[in-house]
Subunit: 206 residues, 2 copies
């Protein structure tokens, strides 16, 4: 993989952070290209035509090819590294947690963070007002499930850091931005601390 890597991103997004954290663990060099999603910079004709027709970041560019979807991007980058388990069952179990993250966790935990931190409660539409308690409850249910799974475990799959941890860490460790109380999830809290202590770790703001 000697082709140049470019990350098309919005630095505060946890989905973009997953890719930076993976690249940091892999020790890979890359360029960053920042888009202001609040100004619609990922909905321009140029972005839609070249980078991602879905109008979303992050997108991983390798040479002249573009790969949307954060969890697909980190899978591409990490193939052949210890971040993907060598065992077939564990590898599928890692993907299980990554699909859980995109289905049960991100639409609730990340959306609440976006609505509270970037939109601002005073600007919420009626739909957002109606959905906020639904998303808060669903986010809590996701973190409760994580907490129960992590009791007696150091990492989500096997006994080493994998992409499942990176994918779930991205928005979990900043869940308090979205109004969630991490103290209610002691095993999640301990796991967050352990992930942050891994060699090669970088922070979301880095």
């Amino acid at each position: 993989m000697s082709e140049k890597i470019v990350l098309h991103e919005y630095a505060d997004s946890g989905n973009c952070y997953k890719i930076r954290l993976t690249l940091a663990h892999l020790g890979k060099a890359y360029e960053r290209r920042e888009y202001d999603i609040l100004k619609g910079e990922t909905r321009t004709p140029e972005f839609l035509g070249t980078v991602n027709a879905n109008g979303r970041i992050p997108v991983l560019q390798v040479g002249d090819r573009f790969l949307p979807e954060s969890n697909a991007a980190i899978f591409y980058l990490a193939e052949g590294s210890p971040l993907i388990p060598g065992d077939r069952w564990d590898r599928a179990d890692m993907l299980r947690w990554m699909f859980f993250e995109q289905y049960n966790h991100e639409p609730n935990v990340a959306t609440m963070r976006f609505w509270k931190l970037f939109v601002g409660e005073e600007n919420w539409t009626d739909t957002q007002k109606l959905l906020a308690p639904v998303k808060a409850a669903a986010g809590d249910a996701a973190m409760k499930l994580m907490d129960e799974h992590l009791e007696g475990r150091s990492f989500f799959v096997g006994d080493a850091l994998s992409l499942a941890d990176i994918a779930l860490y991205a928005y979990t460790h900043v869940a308090e931005d979205g109004g969630f109380d991490l103290k209610a999830y002691p095993y999640v809290k301990a796991w967050c601390d352990a992930v942050a202590l891994q060699p090669g770790h970088v922070q979301i703001g880095d």
Copy 2:
């Protein structure tokens, strides 16, 4: 993989159908165990304690181990088969469409089908009434993106059937149950027909 395979499922669910379709293409024998999700049979203490703490089907059981998340289950089953591309980029691109399916497609296209076909519009809550047009528009946006991608292509990734096609076919080919008009997406329609003509294909009702 000589361990016994059991699919914990609800036959009408597209997520469960993905696994049956993958198993059919692989020619693998398995048992089916049916749960009535409308009667809460996946929320019993026994189901939550043994099969899936997330209270959802499908769950793939291999021997005495359980794997939730349909797209993780089909990845496990298909490893080493032509349903997962051998090329690293194509493999990640396949996962890209599978994550798109769970994030942009299923929560809209599948949810509208569930609300229309199983809940019934006359029983919708105020929240469902408010969200239905939002989900209809988001489902249409997902299928428009698919249609544009499929112009000039036979399958989602490379030139052969992969798990990306199986994952997206499951709810797309029955999208009209959810009020979507497949005639608006001619390349999607042609791709649906092509997927159904593949050797080894089974139907959702089988």
